[in-house]
């Protein structure tokens, strides 16, 4: 375990906090956006229109803003931890490119579906792109995250495959990709229940929520198994730190509560519980990883403390983040309060 140096500049902690926060909010908000697309795949023929309209209405006003958290993460890495940004983008070039293709396809097809002036046959094509890129993109997001852990990246052995392919084409990253997909679908299902007024639709989404939570548990198990195959004793690592143990325990204990909430139609409480669960999973992950950012094949892992930018830069970044959030958070709050207050219908003309 790498050393955590005492002291450290205050701004470094601000920057780390914002990095964690953006990842969390990206998963909670954009993750649910992706999930809504995933759920569309499993929509039965009946009520398909209503369900799709609900999804359109729920995402329309907020999806652009939700995806900003990813950009914020990139900016923080680029300015605050440039070495991490450059190593990750060099060695994970291929999965990142795959993810980008998904981001492009998804954002465009969602908007085109909504704004194409002629609602004709092209709609089916947009939907096709939208739903499959909604699976594709989070899958690669999981793969990229997973590739940072087991064997490490970096050119220990020369060669294209060793350098650029094997670090991510292995059980653990792939399993993490599958887990991410099912987790996002689960989030979306729970969030969407509250967006519909008709009981039958709410029941549909609730059923999806049960199914996807089961899928998340299965793929979560798969992650542990795959980690074992990749030579990472994930279970031991989770048990090793009290913080992560507490988070894992919390996430597990919330599960029955969520099921209860779904059965009793708790509305907002269910959403909060599902969000809390994802938060705990991420927190547990953060606790075992900290302070490592990227495992390098040569053993010189990049951490928050050895890969950060010089003090002057961190100060400016911290100021930008603090001042920026003073502007962004109230506006974001306004956005959500306009569109996500109880019983919000569409305000578009």
């Amino acid at each position: 375990m790498p050393e955590i140096p005492a002291g450290g500049s205050a701004m470094l902690w601000v920057v780390i906090l914002f990095l964690g926060l953006s990842l969390l909010l990206y998963c909670l908000l954009a993750g649910a956006d992706f999930g809504a697309g995933i759920l569309e795949i499993f929509m039965g023929r009946d009520h398909r229109r209503t369900q799709r309209e609900i999804i359109d209405r729920a995402l329309g006003p907020v999806w652009e803003a939700n995806h900003m958290w990813l950009i914020l993460m990139v900016v923080i890495l680029f300015m605050g931890f440039p070495l991490v940004y450059s190593k990750v983008s060099t060695y994970l070039h291929l999965p990142l490119t795959a993810m980008l293709m998904g981001i492009i396809a998804r954002g465009c097809s969602f908007t085109f579906r909504h704004y194409d002036a002629v609602k004709g046959r092209s709609q089916r094509l947009y939907t096709l792109f939208f739903i499959y890129s909604s699976v594709w993109t989070p899958f690669w997001l999981g793969v990229v995250t997973g590739a940072l852990v087991p064997g490490g990246v970096g050119l220990s052995r020369a060669g294209y495959l060793e350098g650029y392919v094997w670090p991510w084409l292995r059980p653990f990253p792939l399993a993490l990709g599958a887990f991410t997909v099912s987790l996002f679908a689960f989030l979306a299902a729970v969030y969407l229940i509250g967006e519909s007024r008709e009981k039958i639709i709410r029941e549909r989404f609730a059923r999806r929520a049960y199914l996807s939570s089961a899928a998340a548990m299965v793929s979560g198990g798969l992650v542990f198994w795959a980690a074992q195959k990749d030579g990472v004793d994930l279970a031991a690592r989770f048990m090793g730190s009290p913080a992560s143990l507490a988070c894992v325990a919390g996430a597990t204990l919330i599960m029955p509560l969520i099921w209860l909430g779904l059965a009793r139609e708790w509305g907002w409480a269910s959403r909060v519980l599902a969000g809390a669960q994802v938060t705990l999973i991420l927190a547990a992950w953060f606790a075992v990883q900290f302070p490592t950012l990227v495992k390098m094949a040569d053993g010189h892992d990049l951490t928050f403390f050895n890969a950060h930018a010089p003090e002057a830069t961190l100060d400016q970044l911290g100021i930008a983040l603090l001042a920026g959030s003073a502007l962004v958070l109230p506006s974001l709050f306004f956005l959500f309060s306009v569109f996500k207050s109880e019983g919000a219908g569409s305000g578009e003309q």
Binding site: P61, L72, S89, T90, L100, G107, C108, V328, F339, Q349
Partner: protein
Amino acid sequence: MAVSLGFHIIFASIGMAMPFLMALSHYRWIRTGKTVYLDLTKAWSRGVAIFFATGAVSGTALSFELGLLWPRFMEHAGPIIGMPFSWEGTAFFLEAIAIGLFLYGWKRLSPWVHWSVGLAVGVTGVLSGIFVVCANSWMNNPAGFEWFDGNALHIDPVRAMFNPGWKTQTLHMTLAAFEATGFAVGGIHALLLLRRPGSALHREAFKIALLIGSLAALLQPLSGDRLAKGTAIRQPVKLAAMEAHFHTERGASLLIGGIPDVAGKRVRYGIRIPYALSFLARGDLHAEVKGMEEFPESDWPPVLVVHAAFQVMVGAGSALAALALAFLFFSARMPRLLLHRRFLIAAALATPLGFVALEAGWTVTEVGRQPWIIYGIMRTRDALTPMPGLVYPFLVFTTVYVFLAAVVAWLMVRHIRAADKEFPSASASAPDRPGGLHA
């Protein structure tokens, strides 16, 4: 990379300027209550939505692509020039929030709040454009650090962001966005007016778009001149390449057109205007202007490309400035000529000119800086990713962008056709019915 940027920059420019056009029309609607302005605001806002989403995803792709292609550049540049990017992030965020509120807020926000969020989309769009161009300007005018043995020391992000070129370059870029968008939109509505004379919607759209484009077009040559003066001092070899100016001279003449013969260090054909180059670059008819010969050939940018691109930019800029003068003169003195067939044809022909100038301008800046990625500090080839087989991701990205550009163009055609049918004010010579706020 150049393909992605070339693509992104079109969407970004429209994202910067279009909300202002929309806000102007929206303002007139709230003030006059004429439905034509309401229709126009709505028709434009749908276009904005499509362009915004495409601009946003292409921008997201860019923020990764910079790292995918130039990891070594980003590793060093991040701590120095990350600051404008972090502010850019904030501006984008606000813009994305504002656009959500605007597009879906018609019924939920009071008219003036709604109008203000629309304007906020434009303001934050322009701010993000300014921030990112600060970063580009730093690549041209590196400042705020000391380069020592391949490492940056004494980093000062504030000085890097406000490098010597930032004011002129951001001004020029912002004007370019307004000019290119104004004339492109105005040109399309001119074309539609030719087909359907008397359409109130297209007439008002044409006037608003050309008004904004024209104001920018008249200021643009002035700002370009300021920019060139900075280039003459800080990047003399780029200026020399723009002018295909091989030999150092006093009282240098300005070259228009011509084909540079790099090996022979001379230019064939072309028109020379005596003393003009010295005046433009230095503000003095007899000033000395350094020629390419002063610099080692290994530091020369591709002269032919830079010179040609510069001619294209200035040529297109001059044509648009002439059109702008005509527009403003007609508006003030002979409003009837504004809708004259010949003028509409001229405006329709000018549709792509602004964007041609904009792309040419970026070619001048970017190709003119070669072989450097950070002028005088780091060479482009040293910044490239070590990953082999780069041609494949390049092909993939290029295909995707070309495909997207085609789809967006197709969507716009459909959108214009549909708006023509949907809004009564678009089709015939509908009278400007006063409609009140809740019509």
